[in-house]
Amino acid sequence: MTVRDTGLSGSLDGETPEWERLARGASGYGVSEEEPEILRELLVFVLNDAPYAIAVERVREIIRLREITPMPRVPDCVVGVVALRGEIVQVVDGRMRLGLELTPPTRRSRIIILHGDDNRVTGIVVDAVDEVLRVSEHDIAPATTGHGGSVVELCKRGDEFVSIIDLDYVLDLDAN
């Protein structure tokens, strides 16, 4: 395991606590007993200064950016593979996949590792991980336009909208 360069969560024994902490914070842990019915949990991350989200159930862990071994003969957005405790996992660059402007990674860059059946565990490089958002269904509206079908829904967060990504579409790279 790589040694952390900054101590965002201060935890040494893994990368997961970071978003667990985020999740706790978002749920208002121990603050209120009378919450509205929670229907969806979203992990919000940042790409090109804009908020995006995916379902929390799809997230296995979040790791710091580490050395990515380039892979030949794959679409450009598959930037390579990383070794993850004995597993070798392909990593997709979020900006590239969504057709956004490319910038060099920063200290806040993360790889979100997604669950995958049947050898389909995948990493996505994002600019930063923001929070876990608990929203009820009426805060979510279908997206009328999107990045070529990648964004299916929008979720209201305060004044702004978070784009919810259709992972099945985004990761269907064999067909594209």
């Binding site: 071994t69 030949p72 390579g80 070798i88």
Partner: protein, 705 residues
């Protein structure tokens, strides 16, 4: 294996069924081997090894117990009758040429068939009727009179001893006398406290010289603290020879009957040593080391369970567990290499140099032990090809019937070992190849007679190990393959351009093209156009390769080359530009450092003069679109698979490592040229090159002139 078979079925058998199938399959597999041996021994005219018959009997017995345990009545019944036949056989009530023996194979096949239908709705009734039918035939074939129990009264033996013989022992006695062996009685006394040890030592020594027909305690004239045993022994050696070689205290050997096979010089009889005072106790109670294989057929329930337990001292292990073990070993290997890295860094600093030396020493001995561990785990995964070849000969027997061709299937190197996983994957491709030889290769008997070949065709399958690969050659003496016909057919199927220039060898290789078939109409055997291309793709999945050579009118040889194991490999680490790749070392023939000026061009292809032979070169940087470093000198990694060779140009050689190839997870399932990846210590992931596809692509590019 069992799980694989049952997977295709629409109706799923229960978990218990699968357990039964897994266990029964193993027993059946063993029985098939044993029956094949039995057939061999019978046809060779040699005396059939009694232990072999005992072995088959035990297999049938286990099968019966198993079927009973899982409540499969029909199968239990079949096993029961099988056991009966074998019991009669080992007791000599049934002669070796009884027609009942021919039904043994059939019974085993019926078992297999039934197991495949397990879980189907009408399974039990179907099973019932097919078993009933076969059992009736078995019973009918057993109706021949039993061999009459002749009298041993003429033998110079104590009648009480004779009475104590079991039926099996009587049979062995008779058999040995008929074979003209010397019959000896070995009397020995042992201290009661240690008799088991002494007796087994004595029996062991005697077995080197002959067969122990029976071991009976004779409590006659022995002192209190001692126990006497009489061992009835049959041997080709004379009494004096046995006496000479058997050097045991308190042991008396006498001749009971001289053998006829050899003029008996030592016909000296010493009757005064026998004791007729007390009858020997029945064998069942005797705490003696009998011939280990003998067991009573009429054993009670607990004894039956006992014998089931003692049949085998092997453990069946799910191959996935071995994979896990292998992965763990692999990870240990990786950790070891990081320790080596730490030692290296410490060695660079003068203050820690001493500790570094010790660390690297410890790390080295750890490495040696890990190698041993690796080798043992690998060894557990290995299975002899015999099992696969057995399957092939069954298929061959069926093909002979279906096609009406007489073909002699010969096997060589049946003990060559392969990783179980590869062996499993090899079955289908091998089957295809043998079928093709039957169908397309071997001519009909009439055709063969016309051109002066023997009516019986021959398919020879030879397996041998070459380095880290196993080579399997399938050679037939059939009509061979005509490259011009193959080409014409391939053209008509649109698989090759009309104006492509191909050598004969390249034309032959077209039989591996997807969709290729020589037959105009589809036959039941082969000719559906899914054959050789499947063979090739199956092999290349395993990192293997297939090659064909043929002489028109003389025959065809297919050569399959595959790695012995997929689990742990040694890899050569190479560098191109800023990147690093691993190449499985078992495909690397040699490495050379060359000056770029040595590279010659021929029709825009780069070649190297390698000791007078042209070696086709491929730049790894071109293969994978990597920017190479601008070096004057390049390394050539000579890759070889089967007969194929190419040279891969790389910037650097970075050393060797032991590694486990991991599959790459993610949205892109397969990348041509990449077999997987591996984790190297703290240096992250490295892609492992799929040598077979790189070679294939390079040669295809060369040929597409």
């Amino acid at each position: 294996m069992a799980a694989k078979k049952t997977k295709r079925k629409p109706a799923r058998p229960s978990k218990a069924d699968l357990e039964f199938v897994a266990e029964a399959e193993e027993i059946l597999e063993r029985m098939r081997e044993e029956l094949a041996d039995l057939a061999d021994q019978r046809s060779s005219g040699r005396e059939v090894d009694p232990d072999l018959v005992n072995g088959i009997f035990r297999s049938a017995h286990s099968l019966k117990g198993l079927a009973g345990l899982f409540g499969f009545e029909a199968m239990g019944k079949l096993a029961h009758h099988l056991e009966d036949v074998l019991d009669s056989l080992r007791l000599g009530r049934l002669s070796m040429d009884s027609p009942a023996l021919n039904l043994l194979d059939e019974s085993v096949e019926l078992f297999s068939r039934l197991m495949q239908r397990l879980g189907k709705s009408n399974f039990e009734s179907e099973a019932q009727s097919s078993v009933e039918e076969l059992v009736a035939r078995i019973e009918a074939s057993l109706q021949q009179p039993a061999v009459s129990s002749d009298d041993f009264k003429t033998l110079d033996l104590d009648p009480s001893l004779l009475r104590a013989l079991t039926e099996y022992e009587e049979h062995r006695l008779r058999e040995n006398i008929n074979r003209g062996r010397h019959l000896l009685l070995v009397d020995s006394t042992f201290e009661i406290v240690a008799f088991e040890e002494g007796l087994s030592e004595l029996s062991g020594a005697i077995r080197e010289l002959g067969e122990v027909v029976s071991t009976l305690p004779s409590p006659g004239e022995a002192p209190e603290s001692q126990i006497r045993f009489s061992l009835l022994v049959a041997s080709d050696l004379s009494c004096s020879e046995v006496t000479e070689r058997l050097d045991f205290p308190d042991t008396n050997i006498r001749l009971v009957i001289a053998g006829t096979a050899e003029a008996s010089k030592a016909s000296h009889v010493a009757p005064e040593t026998q004791d007729s005072s007390t009858p020997s106790p029945p064998v069942a109670d005797a705490p003696v080391a009998k011939q280990p294989s003998v067991e009573e057929s009429k054993a009670d329930l607990s004894a039956g369970i006992e014998s089931l337990k003692s049949i085998s001292d092997t453990v069946r292990v799910d191959i996935r567990k071995l994979d896990e073990l292998m992965n763990l070993v692999g990870e240990l290997v990786i950790h070891r290499s990081s320790i080596a890295g730490i030692a290296e860094r410490l060695a660079a600093d003068s203050t820690t140099r001493r500790a570094a030396g010790e660390l690297s020493k410890a790390q080295n001995s750890l490495g040696r032990k890990l190698k041993e561990l690796q080798a043992s785990v690998l060894d557990v995964r290995m299975v002899p090809l015999r099992q696969i070849f057995e399957k092939l000969s069954r298929v061959a027997r069926r093909l002979q019937r279906d096609l009406g061709k007489t073909v002699n299937l010969k096997f060589d190197g049946v003990d060559t070992e392969l990783d179980k996983l590869i062996a499993e994957k090899l079955v289908d491709p091998l089957m295809h190849v043998v079928r093709n030889s039957f169908d397309h290769g071997i001519e009909s008997a009439e055709e063969r007679a016309q051109i002066g070949k023997s009516a019986e065709g021959t398919i020879r399958i030879e397996a041998y190990q070459r380095g880290n690969h196993v080579v399997i050659q399938i050679e037939d003496d059939g009509r061979g393959i005509d490259p011009t016909l193959v080409r014409a057919k391939a053209e008509s199927l649109g698989l090759v351009d009309r104006d492509a220039i191909l050598t004969d060898k390249e034309c032959l290789a077209l039989i591996f093209a997807p969709g290729f078939s020589m037959r105009d109409e589809v036959s039941g055997t082969s000719g559906r156009g899914v054959g050789m291309d499947v063979v090739r793709s199956n092999l290349s999945d395993m990192g293997g390769i297939v090659d064909v050579t043929s002489k028109l009118g003389r025959g065809t040889t297919l050569t399959l080359t595959l790695p012995i194991t997929l689990a742990i490999i040694q890899a050569l680490l190479v560098g191109v530009g800023k990147q690093r790749f691993a190449i499985p070392l078992n495909s690397v023939l040699e490495t050379l450092l060359i000056d770029c000026s040595e590279i010659q061009n021929s029709e825009e292809k780069e070649i190297l003069n390698l000791r007078g032979e042209p070696l086709h070169l491929r730049r790894l940087s071109d293969e994978f679109g990597v920017t190479p470093s601008d070096e004057d000198r390049q390394y050539v990694v000579v890759l070889g698979l089967g007969e194929l060779r190419i040279g891969l140009l790389v910037d650097r050689l970075e050393g060797q490592l032991d590694t486990v190839i991991k599959s790459i997870q993610g949205p892109i399932a397969q990348v041509r040229g990449i077999a997987g990846a591996t984790e190297i210590g703290d240096r992250g992931a490295v892609l492992v090159i799929d040598v077979s596809s790189v070679i294939e692509d390079a040669l295809r590019r060369r040929d597409a002139a």
